[in-house]
């Protein structure tokens, strides 16, 4: 089960469950976040500092959430491990998801953008 931290105004920090975002857990990851988005939370920080591996299905799940949010909100990522960043760069997802070094910086940036 992923964790949601909603202690920062209307910003939700999402921490994926486990070190890997793969075909095994990406559908559940996406569905849990989409349910959260559908409850009216559309400004999201996905904290990947505990994630060491994202495969193509994991990336697809993140983009699925992005599509659901559309223009209603924002989704950013933080704490990318080198291997995860390489995956983001190879697929140009670094141009789609703004990256911050850590959770505090990501939350601060989203607050500023209000």
């Amino acid at each position: 089960m992923i964790k949601f931290d909603t202690s920062n105004d209307d910003i939700s920090v999402i921490v994926p469950d486990g070190e890997r975002m793969t075909a095994t857990n990406s559908t559940s990851f996406k569905e849990q976040i989409i349910a959260h988005v559908d409850e009216g939370n559309s400004r999201l920080v996905v904290d990947l500092s505990g994630v060491s591996f994202v495969d193509s299905a994991g990336l697809g799940a993140l983009v699925g959430v992005l599509k659901r949010i559309g223009n209603r909100g924002d989704i950013v990522v933080c704490g990318l491990a080198d291997s995860v960043r390489q995956m983001f760069e190879l697929t140009r997802m670094n141009r789609i998801f703004t990256e911050y070094p850590n959770r505090a910086a990501a939350v601060a940036a989203l607050k500023d953008s209000l």
């Binding site: 697809g60 983009v63 760069e89």
Partner: protein
């Protein structure tokens, strides 16, 4: 229900038999353990009521033999013993007896014991039937998947293709029956060779449906039509763009990575579009290795993204090595990825020996890395070497 009664006491046997008949069961009488065993096998019975003390094979020996040899069904064994034989019952339980009845047998106890056992047997039969149906369904699905795997492989080029301008050597290993990978090579007009390799996100049947759709769609004619600008310059990004428009759906996360290229043998250049597919390696004749490309948006993941055509030199005798991410991401038992560095070494070693064997060398190295476990992602290796024009 058939119930084998094993008792050397004629009167005891007759009482049990009569009681079972009243309960509308079919008693099968045996005068000793050995006969009881034979009758259990002959009648395929699943309930045995046996006395402990019998000549020859006693109740315990019979229980042991039944547990050791009758493995196609569960035989429920109810043993008849004295009420105060606790130690005897412990031992019999250990040997595999399920339940006990004390002597003298009263009909109410017998009815209750047999009814419980009957329910268990019926439940087992129900599970057995469900298993049979599932096994049948599984066999049909496996048969279909085998057929699908064969059909998919027929779409692929031969593992070894030698044209006057270049040679292709390839390997294609689905993680299961069918693969979400696909690739093809084409001889194009004007001294050019085309190719693509793609990898659908995820694996299994849903990924294979998309990879096969691409395999059917991207024919030589389609490739030629979609990889050149109006002025005849190779522009493989057009192919990625066309496929993106065709396969992007707002309500789906199915997407694929793609690397498509056109080798211009006159200018000795590779024109390519990298759409999220791993950067291929180029090995020169003197053993220098370099990576091609630094990424690009995958196809069908997002609408209206930009795909770019790039160029890189590809000289005669240079070798281009494409591989899906199943190669670099293959993990050992401690979840360590194989990685590009190890892959580079295998590529260099194979290039120095026999290029023809490079795909198999990569597969062998990955299998060894995984401790001979099957690959957990689909794998494609496509090796292309330019030749001197003949």
């Amino acid at each position: 229900m058939k119930v084998v009664i094993a008792d050397d006491d004629d009167l005891q046997r007759a009482i049990l038999s009569a009681a079972l008949k009243r309960m509308e069961h079919t008693p099968i009488e045996a005068v000793d353990g050995l006969q009881a065993y034979d009758l259990l096998c002959e009648h395929n019975a699943s309930i045995l009521v046996c006395d402990l003390n019998m000549p020859g094979l006693d109740g315990n020996d019979l229980t042991k033999k039944v547990r050791e040899t009758i493995l196609d069904r569960y035989v429920h064994i109810i043993m008849v013993t004295g009420h105060d034989q606790e130690a005897v019952r412990q031992n019999a339980l250990h040997l595999g007896v399920d339940d006990f009845m004390g002597k003298p047998i009263d009909t109410a106890t017998l009815t209750a014991r047999i009814s419980i056992t009957e329910r268990l047997v019926q439940h087992e039969n129900l599970i057995k039937e469900k298993n049979r149906v599932l096994e049948e369904a599984k066999a049909i699905i496996e048969q279909d998947l085998h057929a699908a795997a064969i059909a998919q492989k027929r779409l692929l080029p031969a593992p070894r293709i030698e044209t006057p301008l270049c040679c292709f050597y390839s390997a294609f290993v689905p993680s299961s029956y069918v693969s979400g990978d696909m690739f093809a090579t084409f001889e194009l007009d004007g001294n050019r060779t085309g190719f693509y390799a793609m990898d659908v996100s995820g694996h299994g049947v849903s990924a294979a449906l998309l990879s096969v759709a691409i395999g059917h769609l991207v024919t030589a004619e389609y490739f030629q039509r979609n990889t050149f600008a109006d002025d005849g310059t190779p522009d493989p990004a057009q192919l990625a763009k066309t496929l993106n428009s065709r396969f992007f759906h707002d309500d789906s996360e199915d997407y694929f990575t793609l690397f498509c290229g056109v080798i211009d043998h006159d200018s000795q250049e590779l024109h390519f579009c990298q759409a999220g597919y791993p950067s291929p390696m180029v090995v020169t004749k003197d053993g220098t290795l370099r990576d091609i490309g630094d990424g690009g948006y995958p196809v069908a993941l997002l609408p209206d993204v930009e795909f770019t055509s790039e160029r890189a030199p590809l000289l005669v005798e240079d070798t281009l090595v494409l591989f899906s991410d199943g190669a670099t991401e293959a993990e050992d038992t401690q979840n360590n990825a194989f990685g590009r560095q190890q892959l580079s070494q295998i590529v260099l070693d194979a290039q120095a020996r026999d290029l023809n064997l490079m795909p198999d060398a990569i597969i062998a190295a990955l299998r060894a890395w995984r401790g001979q476990r099957t690959l957990d992602d689909d794998l494609t290796v496509l090796v292309c070497q330019r030749r001197f024009p003949q």
